[in-house]
């Protein structure tokens, strides 16, 4: 009885009632919490929520694994991976959090609309740029949803109705004509920046700078045929082959770069663990949020 009432609702009317009731219940609950929880109660609630969610995700990894049956159903675990009583909850809980997180996109868009809206309304310097923002924003939003709603097959068949064509071509112009090229062009600016950064930074000013420069130089030369050409006299056999620039470059990457990177990673491992512990146990809280007044 209760399970059928709490379970999925197939018919429309009970579904609507259930949703409305759930909304009402959460509203009432939030009101009561707000009305009757003092500052200490609120802080306590936040600390507990933080702790429980951290515990759930962490504990699943560390609890002993039972391979034969699944919790809570007790059904045999056929072909599934090993797990414990929390394992079946990880994927749904991650999904729920992803959905909850998705509802915050409104905050980001709101922030943008606020900044640019004010520019346009007050005719601030460069307001037309903000106008262009709105134009491209609405264009991408509406063509994107419109094109999606048509569910066209891929590749696009040659015969389309006029509306289908407008929706699809509009979206293609925005995506392939502007969005993707802007992305690729901005990314490719790095070719120029890396060149000028290399020119400026690699000077033998100090021991450290010199070490950095020499390593970069060897690896760079090792990658172009001119490097191989410079050291072509060295035989490519035996230990002496290491002195050929293309081998030397790879040797620097493997024998010096990888252990150094690993050393950094293992240091960070502990630093991040400590940060996680402080966040989880609300020891860090003072840094983010001052105490409730």
């Amino acid at each position: 009885m209760l399970t059928s009432w709490l379970g999925p609702q197939q018919a429309t009317t009970p579904l609507v009632y259930h949703i409305l009731l759930a909304l009402l219940a959460s509203g009432v609950l939030l009101y009561l919490l707000h009305r009757y929880l003092g500052p200490r109660g609120r802080r306590g609630l936040i600390v507990v929520a933080t702790f429980l969610f951290g515990l759930f995700f962490g504990l699943e990894y560390f609890l002993p694994v039972r391979t034969k049956t699944l919790w809570p159903t007790g059904l045999p675990n056929v072909g599934g991976s090993a797990g414990n009583l929390l394992t079946p909850g990880i994927e749904p809980m991650s999904n729920i959090l992803a959905v909850i997180g998705a509802f915050t996109v409104g905050l980001g868009v709101y922030s943008l609309v606020q900044v640019h809206g004010r520019n346009v309304l007050r005719r601030r310097a460069g307001w037309y740029n903000s106008f262009a923002f709105f134009l491209s924003f609405f264009a991408m939003f509406s063509f994107g949803l419109w094109q999606y709603s048509l569910h066209l097959p891929e590749p696009i068949p040659p015969t389309l109705t006029l509306t289908q064509r407008i929706a699809n071509d509009g979206y293609e112009i925005l995506f392939q004509g502007l969005y993707a090229p802007l992305q690729a062009a901005t990314f490719s600016l790095l070719a120029f920046y890396i060149a000028s950064a290399a020119y400026r930074a690699f000077r033998i000013r100090s021991a450290e700078a010199a070490l950095m420069m020499v390593a970069a130089f060897i690896v760079m030369l090792g990658q172009v045929p001119i490097g191989a050409w410079l050291t072509r006299g060295i035989p490519n056999e035996g230990a002496i082959a290491l002195l050929r620039l293309e081998n030397l470059g790879e040797w620097v990457m493997r024998s010096l770069n990888s252990p150094a990177q690993r050393g950094i990673a293992l240091g960070v491992a502990i630093g991040a663990l400590a940060m996680s512990l402080r966040v989880w146990l609300s020891l860090e809280r003072g840094t983010f949020f001052a105490e409730q007044k």
Partner: protein, 294 residues
């Protein structure tokens, strides 16, 4: 907003004095940008290729293609889009070309960015024309398949059912090339062309390891170093590294093409940057020498 090269912090130390040598240390960035663009455009139009010696990793891939038995297909997984096209495009072309050259039938497939299916299709159909190859008989494109690891796991049991329809929406069962292809074991070699981390681990974990299907790959230069361990352990038969790998493959099958052009543009631009570093240091050393002696 004027250029202030050398104004911040430790960057401009010792560069305050005038003179030719000092100026070599402060080449305005615009000149660097312009020269770089000029070198790249020049090399794209009139490439002066460096001599290419195919590396062991490239040779490994070529040998793996040649070793595919008569009845089996080569599966080229084209998991890239326009962001890495300069490297992965020529790589795909080189692998396709090698297949035609050695008369191996192949299929294309895309698991990750949907755009890859179309871009790879353009490349393959262009090359197919040169070899007078027939779509559906000598090669085919399975198109974009949604679901990454789920697709691979399903392919273990039934390939035609998993793939369903090809790039053009035709059921793959109707293609002559698919005759005799039932499970993933009917594939003689998988070649993963990608700039995405994680694809290789998936193929090795689900297909190469458990099913014993040979696996090879073509990676962007920036991600390739991370996969040498798999090469050492024999889990990857061979690999192309960046545009350089594509150029090496082209030279192996004696068909110089786009990879060669891109590689020469890359190499000459690289040499330009190396020259800039040398010039900057010369300026630094000589200007300091003058300051001391003067």
């Amino acid at each position: 907003m004027a250029d202030q090269s050398g104004s911040s912090g430790q960057m401009g130390a010792g560069a305050s004095a005038g003179g030719f040598w000092a100026r070599l240390q402060q080449i305005p960035r615009y000149y660097i940008y312009l020269l770089l663009a000029a070198v790249v455009i020049w090399q794209i139009l009139f490439p002066i290729p460096f001599p290419v010696t195919p590396s062991a990793t490239t040779r490994g891939l070529e040998e793996a293609i040649r070793a595919v038995p008569e009845g089996k297909l080569v599966l080229i997984s084209a998991d890239w889009d326009s962001s890495t096209q300069a490297e992965t495009g020529p790589q795909t072309a080189a692998v396709v070309e090698a297949c035609f050259r050695h008369r191996k039938r192949f299929v294309l497939m895309t698991l990750s960015p949907p755009m890859g299916a179309k871009l790879a299709n353009n490349i393959a159909s262009e090359i197919a024309k040169q070899y007078r190859a027939t779509y559906g008989v000598d090669w085919a494109n399975w198109g974009y398949k949604y679901g990454t690891s789920n697709v691979l796991m399903a392919m273990v049991k039934d390939v035609p059912k998993t793939v369903g329809s090809d790039f053009y929406g035709k059921p793959v069962k109707s293609l002559p090339i698919m005759r005799g292809v039932r499970t993933v074991k009917d594939i003689g070699l998988v070649v993963e062309v990608t700039g995405l981390a994680g694809m290789t681990e998936m193929w090795i974990g689900l297909i190469q390891g458990p099913q014993g299907v040979p696996f090879a790959a073509a990676y962007t230069a920036v991600m390739a170093p991370g996969y040498y361990p798999y090469l050492d352990s024999g889990q990857i038969e061979g690999m192309l590294v960046g545009a350089k790998g594509a150029a090496e493959m082209e030279s192996l099958i004696a068909r110089p093409g786009l990879g060669m052009a891109i590689m020469s543009a890359q190499s000459w631009a690289h040499v330009l940057i190396i020259l800039f570093i040398i010039v900057g240091n010369l300026g630094y050393v000589l200007a300091r020498g003058r300051e001391k002696s003067g």
